[in-house]
Subunit: 451 residues, 2 copies
């Protein structure tokens, strides 16, 4: 069979475009209703998407004044969606900076159990400094400290998920033996940030452990991805950049002793789709005209650490804006880079830059006909830039329907995308192996774990 594309639907309340909630195509009155998300997930599942995905962060990032900023907790929301779907993968974002690994490992393990092996964890270190104040920290830790904790956190989580070997439960009723204690292991983790004894308090979940997903593209982020990630969400504006990133990640995976095919690279793509190019551009303009510059300027500050609020909206963005490293915070360094490249390449006015970012916060917006969207997907996929795409419809639910109704059939006709699921778990969909427990076959340290 031809190499197959992977498609992930990145769900965002009313849509990824920041003004989506104002456009008549959207239904912002439903964004706290479980039915709304279940409907979106069923649309993605009917089109045979690999997974759906929610971003997350433990803080209100923007004033709720100008946007539908509130968000439901994604692990719980995806559990509710699991019940309304059968096959599609369920990827939740959760922060290693602001969780405890024992608690988070349990949430994901249980999602994997109740969904029959469809859980994925998008591992983030949280980029918004606002979170710190919700957790009693004097300040948001630096990225290097956050990644140091993230590495320990993921090591701990995997050890917990592995701590019951797959055959630990023996269920010997006559003999009165439920589990073989030699196959339930304390993890005794002692790190710089974390101390966790274990064992976990549940058996190994259907996938062994959830699929590990990662989205940081900074140097720390890429190191982390090469070592742990089984799928990567990433933001690129151009084929060149995406190819360079793709090659770099596959190399890092090899250097970490991993099969590069077990790291799926999925750039973001936010498509405005219509029957004609002209109609697609008209649709994009409608959304851009609904943006609120005061909100967009704040978003730009949050994304890239620069403040353009003193500039005239119709004057060009200063080309040396990102030349001065002092003006750039170290949050979101990779996103800053994407924005700096847009400025460098397109020389936009402030308003034009805000419109460029309004669509998907620095992810690639593509505007065109279904054939054109399918063409760019095929190009990136066959030219070594992507294993698939993180589809970020500018507006929900209809923006996803436009993609599944018109683009997916083209990709299927071209033999690039499945017409039926061939497995039941997210690992099956992504072509990832089910990992063995790292404790399998080990001599136990003791037969009495806890007294």
């Amino acid at each position: 069979m031809t190499r197959q594309l992977h498609l992930n639907a990145f769900i965002h309340p009313a849509g990824h475009h920041e003004a989506a909630w104002r456009h008549p195509l959207t239904e912002p009155e439903r964004i706290y209703d479980v039915d709304y998300y279940q409907q979106i997930a069923r649309t993605a599942e009917a089109a045979r998407f690999d997974a759906i995905f929610f971003a997350d962060g433990p803080a209100l990032r923007q004033s709720a004044e100008f946007n539908a900023s509130g968000r439901l907790e994604p692990i719980v929301l995806l559990t509710a969606i699991a019940a309304a779907t059968e096959k599609i993968g369920l990827i939740a974002t959760a922060s290693t900076t602001y969780h405890e690994p024992y608690n988070l490992a349990r949430l994901f393990s249980t999602l994997d159990f109740v969904s029959g092996g469809r859980a994925g964890w998008n591992i983030v270190t949280t980029s918004t400094a606002l979170a710190a104040a919700n957790f009693g920290l004097p300040e948001h830790p630096d990225p290097s400290i956050r990644y140091e904790r993230a590495r320990e956190f993921v090591d701990v989580a995997i050890k917990l998920w592995d701590s019951w070997e797959d055959d630990a439960v023996v269920l010997d009723r006559p003999g009165g033996r439920y589990a073989d204690p030699a196959k339930v292991h304390p993890i005794d983790f002692h790190g710089k940030h974390l101390e966790v004894r274990g064992p976990f308090n549940a058996p190994r979940s259907p996938q062994g452990h959830p699929v590990l997903v990662q989205a940081g593209s900074s140097n720390d982020g890429r190191d982390f991805a090469g070592r742990y990630a089984e799928a990567i969400f990433t933001a690129h504006q151009t084929l060149d950049n995406a190819q360079a990133f793709y090659t770099d990640i596959k190399n890092r995976a090899c250097l970490a002793g991993r099969d590069p095919d077990h790291v799926k690279v999925l750039p973001g793509l936010s498509p405005f789709i219509a029957d004609t190019e002209e109609a697609a551009h008209r649709l994009e303009r409608e959304f851009n005209e609904l943006t609120i510059p005061r909100y967009g300027l704040r978003q730009l500050t949050a994304l890239a650490g620069v403040d353009l609020s003193s500039f005239d909206l119709d004057s060009p963005v200063p080309r040396d804006l990102f030349g001065d490293a002092g003006a750039v915070t170290d949050n979101n360094r990779s996103r800053t880079q994407v924005i700096a490249e847009i400025v460098d390449r397109e020389n936009p006015t402030v308003r034009e830059l805000l419109h460029r970012l309004a669509g998907a916060r620095g992810h690639r917006v593509f505007t065109g006909t279904p054939e054109q969207v399918a063409d760019t997907i095929e190009e990136w996929f066959t030219e070594g830039a992507a294993d698939g795409f993180n589809i970020m419809p500018p507006h929900y639910p209809r923006g996803l329907e436009a993609f599944t109704d018109t683009v997916v059939p083209i990709l299927q006709r071209r033999g690039l995308f499945r017409t039926e699921y061939t497995g039941d778990t997210l690992r099956d969909h992504l072509g990832l192996p089910r990992p063995d427990s790292q404790y399998a076959g080990r001599t136990p340290e003791s037969t009495e774990l806890v007294s």
Copy 2:
């Protein structure tokens, strides 16, 4: 209408009896399957129970050798159950000692949203010292410190849930105003244990906030319950003790300025039910004969801090066992009291005591016909000992079915229990008001919450 009983089904993997998993009536091979719990919940809902409930703790409390000790995370599990039910309340246990309030408040808020207002939180401080080692603490904090943090934690959680006033979302599409920032409040909590700025990152949930449930019966626990609890799970062996507890809790609620009718007291009841008394006792004996003394002795140590493993199983428990305060750990002081009273009242052998505790870990086991079970429920309910019961079937799923098929119809015929739900939320079922946001009508501190 006559005052109505409240019934809660306390779900425990194969049943509350510690040997349940060995008995042919149970299905221990299904205890990690979501279908199993959905089926149990539908049984409880068909009988018009107020709620189902899961205990929890972030540690493997016992070696998995002799019992089905693993457990799924209850908030996620109840979310999966929410999707398979329509009305029944969903109460999850979660620890204030081992969670962060911002994260936990989000999990419960989202459960309340996706279930349409059916969430309840059983607030515990965690009694097992084993948890500390899973969270990098040098030792498990003392009960007084745990309750101090618990009070701050619940104050923070309620403030977070209240931080968006009910009418904060204005959804003004033409005007470009999603929410009124004057109605989204930072909470600026500064406590001894917790510092949380807020605001929350989601609107107020259907019930305003989840129903607050509590289970500690120590003095600290009762103080806490009087101030916060809207329902209380409690363990009593005798009517006298239950009456004294009931009166004490209602008094404490009054003294805290609350309506005592808004604190529902629900003692545990683990019923062995059969057509004849003799058959019911035979069933109980079958379960007791399957117990493993080595396991029971460990459980006793965990529950009451005493070690009887050096005694002959058929010799009497020393009557002064609990006289020596040094032998009693301060974990579970209230449960120790229950056990001390059993020893004092019944003068059991070690084996008999283990059997008494095997049923429900110190909760009341009642063995008899459906009429007899209904009689004791009615007696406690009408004699000022209970507003309802936390039903703890010794074996699942059939032990619950025995109760719903045979006891519930009697209670309904006697006019003590509903035959249809009269509302949609857990607050409706329990007769609890939906609380107003504490910020409603307050002058905002600022109109720009976050920049």
